[in-house]
Symmetry: C2
Subunit: 342 residues, 2 copies
Amino acid sequence: MMRVRDALAEGNTAVNRTTLKDVADHVGVSAKTVSNVVNGTGWVSPELQERVREALVSLGYRPNAAARQLRSGRSGMVAVALPELSQPYFAELASELVRAAQDRSITVLINQTNGDRDSERRLSDGVGLPVMDGLILSALALNADDLAHRLDTTPLVLLGEHIGQSPFPHVTVDNTLAARAATDHLIARGRKRIAAIGAQVEGPNETSMLRLAGYREALTAAGLPLDDDLVMTVEAFHRSDGASAANRLLDSGVGFDAVFAFNDLLALGAMHALAERGVHVPADVAVIGFDDIDEGRYSTPTLTSVSPDKAAIARIALDLVLEPGPAIETSIPFKIIKRASA
Amino acid sequence: MMRVRDALAEGNTAVNRTTLKDVADHVGVSAKTVSNVVNGTGWVSPELQERVREALVSLGYRPNAAARQLRSGRSGMVAVALPELSQPYFAELASELVRAAQDRSITVLINQTNGDRDSERRLSDGVGLPVMDGLILSALALNADDLAHRLDTTPLVLLGEHIGQSPFPHVTVDNTLAARAATDHLIARGRKRIAAIGAQVEGPNETSMLRLAGYREALTAAGLPLDDDLVMTVEAFHRSDGASAANRLLDSGVGFDAVFAFNDLLALGAMHALAERGVHVPADVAVIGFDDIDEGRYSTPTLTSVSPDKAAIARIALDLVLEPGPAIETSIPFKIIKRASA
DNA sequence: CTTTCGTAGTTCATCGTTGAACGAATGATG
DNA sequence: CATCATTCGTTCAACGATGAACTACGAAAG
């Protein structure tokens, strides 16, 4: 008899795994009949079903996903590619996607691109991935050209950043509208010198530009002047960028009584820097962020933020990727969550 | 020359993905020869290799992972199961695992168990998963019995919580030692009334108990009394639990000048509550956490924390799962990162 | 001159599962 | 009684890639 070690030496990982045929031989029927019992297809008499089911359990049968997928073309898996799991927004989004997928009894494979164009392109081409039923991609660096020359034909849904005239469905909040709402909130609080933290001059910056546009729209609509000295550029959307932007703002000596940060990490970094320099939030400077990450509920002070409906993003993206339709753009609802910072 | 669109138009029943045979026909060789070129096996003349490689690129060939895996038994994928991606510690750990896996050119499939025993058991049995080369499981609710009756034979590595006399390798920090170091740090700062936040009376609580033991060891070694009124239990390790524990501590009227929180989220929640009640950190109460999540570097005040080497956890866990060895327990190094809160 | 060896490929079977197509009973219907 | 539908199950051929075994040919070795 072949021992486990011998099998391992052969390089076979799934050692001794029970197959349909094993179960079939045990019961004395054909493999297909067992397959029918497992999948509820075809006709099998109740008594036989019972016997097969017993054998399935006692032999510990579990279907081989690779074979199943090779045959049927379906994998029951959807890949999700996000820039950075260590960013709370993406981690929370991933969490929602996993949850939504579980509801549909499919498995989510999560990948991390680091916002790297090569990684994103390779993922969208399905390189190095098992064959998937779909791909949900939150791309930062990918461009329309990459998508036009995509090798893979698996359904693709894009999140967040907008990519040119892409022929794929896209799920996102209306960044301009949401940014305008955030700025309006500060204006309604009586703030007149509102700084924006999160402009980006190079790299992937579509989100940044849309939020900046919303910020400017709100100011203009309120009859407030646009002062470029109040617009702080950042390299990335991390806490450290927010902190450095706030410090530059303070160093510059330009007066401001509010900050609209383009995401919560920037806002939290900025609040941290403000606190260190003795500026009180919200007394001296009101701060509003974007994303409504959990952390903002426990910061000091708690962070007011634009809250996109992450569960809806997850749900809709999954539906679109599993049931491919036209390349429509879906706008996700958002709310302003009022907390202590503004 | 046949263009890609023509190939598509031929209507391969499955998907229009290029197979080895397509490439082989195009070049006029056997499928196996193309396979040899792709994998660098066998002997293929340089000129032919060149021609095949051209065809591979022009036809956009990508290997079918399911077929490859069905044949070879290897999938190039490792599953990682974590309780909650929305918890920064796990998100950061996942991020490190993805990075470490990329270095070894393997893919990581991330799952979320919600700390649910059923989910954990099903994962450890490989139910609903593609055949994997290994599983890295951070289990909360799984018990030794579940593991003993594991159906799957995929290499398994456990993270964090210790599970009985498990026959599987285990990677974790020495919780007791680290907790003692954290408490020692507070003692060295001259604190005498040190509260602990994070004791757990029911549910999965091994980590909690070990950290509590370390806390007590440190107090005893320093000749400080053990006061149960200073030990706060929590339901989970979330910010809200930390906040409520801090509030209960304040409400109880028991005096304390320091808090050792069993993780950073508890610490941040506690700091938030303390700030709301006008208690200054670290002037009135010093706070130290555990995990060293990124957020602690930008909280107000910044959070001193026990920092387990997450990159090392990821690296070692991957090595152990890919190169199965004895069921050893690996202790991960940690550091105390001193910031403003203690 | 035969044998061995190295190179450069081929063919074939197979991994585990499932769709398609095909019996073989049983009972109902005209 | 012949015909047809229904039920219950079977066999067969793939899905795409690859290890094992085999062919063919020239060159070197004995």
